[in-house]
């Protein structure tokens, strides 16, 4: 079960564990604005081919625009 986290924990995981940050919105929305250091894998493209760039041993944080 994925762990839901808040902003403070995101900052901590990025700083302390070099967590991998993924924006799952479409490319245009990522190009418009994204968190520093985030890569873009849109939800519709999230599959075996697109995850090659991720390291399985490192924590992954996903986000979109908001909780809606």
């Amino acid at each position: 079960m994925p762990t839901q986290i808040e902003r403070d924990e995101v900052q901590r995981l990025l700083a302390d564990e070099q967590a991998q940050l993924i924006e799952v919105l479409p490319h245009a929305e990522y190009e418009d604005e994204h968190l520093p250091g985030a890569i873009n894998i849109p939800l519709k493209e999230l599959g075996r081919g697109s995850i090659d760039q991720l390291e399985r041993a490192r924590r992954v944080i996903v986000y979109c625009y908001d909780s809606q």
């Binding site: 924006e23 968190l35 520093p36 999230l46 399985r56 924590r59 996903v62 908001d66 909780s67």
Partner: protein, 161 residues
Amino acid sequence: MSPRAASRLETLGFEQVCDYVAGKADWGSAGLPLDGANGSETRAGPYVRTGVPTCWPAERLHDVCDKLDESGWDTCFVVDDHRVVLGRLGRSAIRGRVDVSAEEAMTPGPSTIRPSARLEAIVERMHRQKLSNLPVTTSDGRLVGLLTLRDAEHSLQQLGG
């Protein structure tokens, strides 16, 4: 969308998956930087004047007047222990009422914007509502500072907007 992405990653074999549910709207509204074509430099955050004076609700207005005189500002925000904005005091509100508390004299619940608000939209709003400045707070109401119309317009010009 992010909960589905997090679940998908788990099904793909990732064991340490976290979901930042509040997402980039939350990040930006807290005043944290955003990259991209419409990143932080097109938002209010970088142009906020952070030295605006603050006072407690119980402070007497003659003390607030002294603060304003020393600071050179003509406005002061009434905040709680967490720097959450409760109200605003301008010189006109203070003048002649030095024996009351800030809470009694303040205009409660002033309209605020987030650091992630787009400059273009803010400038348009300030003109429409005839405002010369707007307080900027985080999404949980904490004061960041004050954005002036002059600074916002100047920044937009610098950005070529």
